[in-house]
Amino acid sequence: MIALLKVEWLKIKNYTAFIILSSFFAIGVVTVNYIIFIVNENIISQSQAVILTGKFSPFQFDKTWQTTSYASGWLLLLPALMLIILITNEFTFRTHRQNILDGWSRQQFIHVKIMMAVLIAFFSTILVFFTALAFGFYSGTSFSTHGISHVGFFFLKALSYNMIALLIGVLIRRTGFAIGVFFIYMGVENFISQLLDVLSVRLRSRNNLDLGSMGDYLPMNSADGMLTFPENPLKALTKGVMPTDYPWLVVSLCIAYMVFFYWLTVKRMVKTDL
């Protein structure tokens, strides 16, 4: 696998789109968290609401892991787009064929791309880890690993987005069209998710049936649902009305969807004409 990854590195190390999107992501993670930090320190903490709800610092240890993971999760579209571009480039340039002609197996070709999806998710997570650490210390609190599992959820979310991107790339093959389908899919899933969430609240309030937030049971939303903004005094007020969260179910579903996407992606590459 190392030899295969070296080849992938040769493909991307001088690729402008890769360099730009990676940089945007890295700068974006730091910037988004810094904005939240500043807004909280300078606006929310100074407002009258704090008198009612008490002071809340999202970047103090142990909250920093969850806040940074949640906020950075919004930027995971960038690595996903990057993966769509990387896989569809192969189809556009027909280099997927040439890689096979030159001596890769179809399995090797798709598995090295999946490994890229894992590595991109891994390096994104490392970046989030250090960002959370830095903001934790910056907020003047002492180190704690409590809540660090959210960084793990961030990894799962990143990987989930990457696997969806890879699958769409393999199915659609054309860069622009694949990116379009990715966004349309995201929009459609979010819309259905909202409807399911409304249904969940009604079932809870009218039928006393608590099935959790069903909107989180869809592929992308299960990835999103793992990461939430830390419990804060305002959020606590809504408890009792909203359906119960079942984090273990959402995480299990997210992993199950990923396994399914993995299977579908490999099957598509191995079985069809290239």
Partner: protein
């Protein structure tokens, strides 16, 4: 030993049959031409051999074994179009090809020189002309000096000098013992460089064998006389020709190229008491032979 053997290969695209039970062998050390009109299934067949396409049914062997990526690494393949990363230079593209093939990068300057691209090695692939792209694809095939080359329309898009260079290269490689499998719709190309040929027509193999045997360029003599049956009887006593055909009140005698002696033919029939009223030398072109096989 056969470098490649195909056994009853079928390939369907929905209701369209692209290959209909194709079988043949490619002997070691040959320059094997796969000839056929556009859409006859040449590229489909090569694609199946190299695992780009999946056959509907049939089996094939490469280097005497069931093909795998291990075999593909030993073969230089150029299929249909030059496939490279547009944003990378020629040299970096060859680095990728060499890494996949498991060859070192030290061979890159040699192959670039062989196709006259050394001066453009730092240029992006996207800035290349069609001919240069084609030459880079051939350079990539030559990496690591493979014992087998598969080339699909290798002279497409090349200028006359480029075509002559590639032909010379193919001949040189054959002399060094490389087996070359080459698909082409250009008769002239096949005739000039191939030792063996397989002809495909609408997915069916119509002929396969030595190029002289299949695309034999024959000379024909047409003879005619008042009494056609007497002429035919007399012709049967005559030797030197390879076959005889009666057509339109004339008899056609087929000769190996350059062996016809019209005087001798005339004398033979005169001595037999037959006066010819028609004696004409006709050259059968390679093109008409190809048309005969594929139409």
């Amino acid at each position: 030993m056969s470098i490649l053997s195909l056994e009853n290969i079928y390939k369907n695209y929905g209701s369209v049959q692209a290959l209909k039970g194709v079988s043949f062998n490619v002997p070691k050390g040959s320059v094997f031409g796969i000839l056929g009109p556009n859409g006859s299934g040449k590229t489909t067949m090569l694609g199946i051999i190299m695992d780009i396409l999946k056959p509907t049914s049939g089996t094939y062997k490469l280097l005497g074994e069931v093909p795998s990526e291990k075999h593909r690494r030993q073969i230089g393949t150029f299929l249909e179009t030059p496939n490279f990363y547009h944003y990378l230079s020629a040299e970096r593209n060859l680095h990728i090809a060499a890494a996949i093939k498991g060859r070192g990068v030290e061979d890159i300057p040699r192959v670039l020189e062989m196709v006259n691209l050394t001066h453009r090695k730092k240029s992006r692939f996207s800035t290349f002309s069609l001919g240069m792209k084609q030459r880079l694809a051939i350079a990539s095939c030559l990496l690591g000096n493979p014992s087998v080359l598969i080339l699909d329309e290798p002279t497409n898009g090349l200028d006359p000098v480029g075509i002559a260079e590639i032909r010379a290269l193919i001949k040189k490689l054959q002399l060094e013992g490389t087996t070359i499998i080459m698909a082409s719709h250009l008769l002239d190309e096949v005739e000039k460089v191939c030792t063996h040929v397989a002809i495909l027509k609408k997915g069916e193999l119509v002929a396969a064998g030595g190029v002289n045997e299949i695309l034999a360029n024959e000379d024909i003599v047409e003879i005619g006389a008042a009494n056609l049956s007497a002429l035919q009887l007399s012709a049967e006593k005559f030797s030197g020709y390879t076959s005889m055909k009666v057509a339109d009140n004339l008899i056609q005698l087929f000769y190996p190229i350059g062996t016809i002696n019209l005087e001798e033919i005339n004398r033979h029939f005169f001595n037999e008491g037959i006066v010819l009223n028609h004696l004409q030398l006709k050259r059968k072109s390679l093109e008409s032979k190809f048309m005969e096989l594929t139409n």
